[in-house]
Subunit: 107 residues, 2 copies
DNA sequence: CATAAAGTCAAGTGATCACTTCACTAAAGG
DNA sequence: CCTTTAGTGAAGTGATCACTTGACTTTATG
């Protein structure tokens, strides 16, 4: 389940975005991540499963601890969705510029 | 309610992303958008309210019809959230290169 | 071996979601 | 004025969500 809908749904939660933010600093233990939040370990674990299902992180077990790591590829995939719109908003700016130009020099 | 969470939540639905896609072609009537989906007009109207609350579109009433338009600024806001991670995923590529080099010449 | 540490799993709860139907308002057109 | 068109509002339903507690599994440590 690495659909766009799944990715955006995973990103639509403050806790989960905060986890991703923390993982920018490198891999982290589940319990370590959990200590940042006012929530049970189980609660955080649920969020991590959501992120994993969305393909945004991977969880590796070493000994009795789990280490979480970002999967940048999926982030990129989501980010790419906006590319089409970038073109659009540049267009908008152009039109605003055109309008300003037209106002300044209306002949 | 133009929070990142609200924006991503709004984007986490196929129907709503399809609406945004259609609006890239310019403004459109509610009923016009609705005709594309196998759903009641009320259903589509709900989705449009969600997009509006997220700040992703605006709805203007002219006569008895409503016209929907993209709000590129909000799209951009969401897009910008990924910028931090772009730096990270470039970094990852570097580390992979480093690892490859290390493997080749490990002494 | 006994205990602690790291975490998941299962089940339950209240909230929110997507979608529907039915009733309603507001603007045009005959 | 009467009807149609365009759409929203309210209420209800089944599904999913965020979070909890309590029991369980696995690995390390005294």
């Amino acid at each position: 389940m690495t659909s766009l809908s799944g990715i955006f749904a995973a990103l639509s939660d403050d806790t989960r975005r905060a986890v991703l933010h923390q993982l920018k600093g490198g891999e982290a233990k589940v319990s370590n991540l959990a200590s940042s939040f006012d929530m049970t370990l189980t609660g955080v674990s649920n969020h991590l499963q959501t992120l994993k299902n969305a393909g945004l992180i991977e969880i590796e077990k070493r000994g009795r601890t789990r280490y979480c790591r970002l999967k940048p590829h999926t982030l990129r995939l989501a980010s790419n969705w906006f590319d089409d719109y970038e073109a659009f908003w540049d267009h908008q700016l152009d039109r605003i510029e055109d309008a300003l130009t037209a106002d300044k020099d209306p002949r």
